[in-house]
């Protein structure tokens, strides 16, 4: 894959994404309130929170699929619309966004058909590295859920976007497949070094993948706490005491966020 181009050590860490004073409401219903976030280049951030707290809306604002009501969102110092125009955003949703009439390979190529970026991955090689070498010419309905999701993520990163947005991509998968894909994604991002934002309901998932976890409180969504995950990579030892400690710490923050908003939603 891409040769990693690490920034010189002397330069100060640059903000890849800067969100300031973000507010958003759907009609009279406030969804997000006073969101301030800075993401460094290559950082992996998870958005965790009770359902209906606006995590997905925040992600969609970053993708340019929703507009913010108030506040600013900048990607590399420019508005989201600019990043979108430069096709620097890749997005993968919980449900794999694949065309049923296209093979795995042609579904990944679909991204490149609408892209005019240079320095993209070769779709065939990418799928081989994703362990799908034998399934290039299979149709989505012939693939398992885990395979479909790998094709989906391949389609989201094949144009080598600066920013990878993941909306519960593993939410619908079984436990073992999910854990295997966590390890696989973490490994992938170590190589591609993309800035990534993940929306998830799973504390384990957030701890396994993230540099930082933003815990949102419910309606309107506010950042209740911002936690750094202090674990060395690769984080394979899910039975380790250190891992369990981090999971407990994040889970405690999540419960606190739920309590602060007046208990779990009905």
């Amino acid at each position: 894959m891409r040769q990693s181009v690490l920034p010189a050590v002397a330069s100060p860490p640059q903000s890849a994404i800067r969100i300031a004073g973000l507010r958003k409401s759907f009609g009279p219903v406030p969804v997000l309130e006073g969101i301030d976030l800075d993401l460094a280049e290559g950082e992996f951030l998870s958005l965790l929170g009770p359902s209906g707290c606006g995590k997905t809306t925040l992600l969609r604002i970053l993708a340019g699929l929703e507009t913010a009501w108030e506040g600013t969102v900048a990607i590399d110092g420019a508005p989201v619309a600019d990043a979108r125009r430069r096709q620097e955003i890749g997005i993968a949703f919980q449900r794999a966004a694949l065309l049923p009439s296209r093979t795995a390979l042609r579904n990944v190529q679909l991204t490149l058909e609408v892209c005019h970026r240079s320095g993209v991955f070769d779709p065939e090689r990418l799928l081989r590295e994703f362990g799908l070498g034998d399934f290039l010419h299979h149709y989505p309905h012939q693939l398992s859920g885990g395979m479909q999701q790998r094709v989906n993520i391949a389609a989201a990163i094949v144009h080598h976007p600066r920013l990878l947005l993941l909306d519960e991509p593993f939410g619908a998968l079984d436990e073992l497949t999910r854990e295997a894909l966590w390890a696989w994604l973490a490994q992938l991002l170590l190589v591609t070094r993309q800035t990534a934002v993940l929306v998830t309901h799973s504390v384990e998932e957030a701890v396994t993948l993230s540099d930082r976890v933003a815990v949102l409180s419910a309606r309107p969504g506010r950042i209740h706490s911002l936690l750094s995950v202090n674990l060395p990579r690769p984080r394979t030892g899910r039975l380790d005491e250190a891992f369990a400690r981090e999971v407990t710490r994040v889970r405690r923050a999540l419960y606190a966020a739920v309590d602060a908003a007046g208990g779990p939603p009905p």
Binding site: I91, V114, A155
Partner: protein
């Protein structure tokens, strides 16, 4: 393949048994030849006047195909208008509801006295017959497009044309084909009805003429031709569907 061969055999039996049943029926019912001519007489018509029949078949098919093309174009443009500019639907829908619900045979009389005996009123009738199922199915198909996929392409700054080609059209295709199957044969029916009303040529005109002359044999010959055309249209739809959805078949 075995299933396919059995289906072919069933059709073969159907076509072989029709003349046999026909002859048997005449033999037992003692109906006069004017009312029910024997297959041999119908065959004579087909053999003796191929030029006239071919010419009039050509006229009918031209009207049917041209009208069908116009109906398709119109349905596609309107369906995309509904999807991309939702307010157009609010303004156009009452018109489509009204026009659709006036029986087109009554509109035909108006078209005759306003437009006269030329191609235009016949095309209009074919369009009236074919247009509405095409429009309804296309709109339904476009609406059935995967919103997640559309979002993914939107995040890539895809153009409207790209979203149409890559997502909307593939998703509308099964719906479109369902409408195509009924509308394509419907276009032939529409053309014949139009000729029945006002024409000096075409299969519909042959029917009117044969009726006034009490030529049962010609009527049956025209029926055979019209039936063959409609069947050919139907099978062309099925073949197209098989080819377009070949990816769904297990390999």
């Amino acid at each position: 393949m075995k299933r396919f061969r059995r289906a072919a055999l069933a059709y073969l039996l159907l076509f072989a048994s029709i003349p046999l049943l026909w002859e048997a029926f005449i033999h037992f019912s003692h109906l006069p030849g004017v009312v029910l001519p024997p297959p041999s007489k119908v065959w004579d018509v087909l053999r003796d006047e191929p030029g006239i029949l071919a010419y009039n078949t050509g006229v009918t098919m031209e009207e049917a195909l041209l009208g069908y093309a116009v109906a398709n174009l119109l349905a596609l443009v309107l369906a995309l208008g509904f999807i991309w500019f939702p307010s157009t639907e609010a303004f156009v829908a009452p018109w489509t509801v009204m026009i659709k619900n006036i029986p087109y045979v009554t509109i035909a009389g108006i078209l005759l006295i306003t437009l006269g005996d030329n191609l235009a009123p016949k095309l209009l009738i074919v369009v009236l017959v074919c247009f509405f199922p095409l429009l309804a199915n296309l709109v339904k198909g476009f609406r059935a497009a995967d919103s997640v996929l559309i979002d993914r392409l939107a995040a890539l700054n895809a153009t409207r044309g790209q979203v149409f080609r890559k997502v909307l059209w593939p998703s509308a295709l099964p719906f479109y084909l369902a409408a195509h199957e009924t509308s394509f044969t419907g276009s032939i029916v529409g053309a014949i009805i139009a000729e029945w009303f006002f024409s000096r040529k075409g299969l519909g005109y042959l029917v009117v003429q044969a009726m006034s002359d009490y030529r049962g044999d010609v009527l049956y010959a025209v029926n055979l031709i019209a039936g063959a055309l409609a069947l050919a249209a139907y099978f062309s739809c099925k073949l197209l569907e098989r080819w377009l959805f070949r990816w769904q078949r297990p390999r």
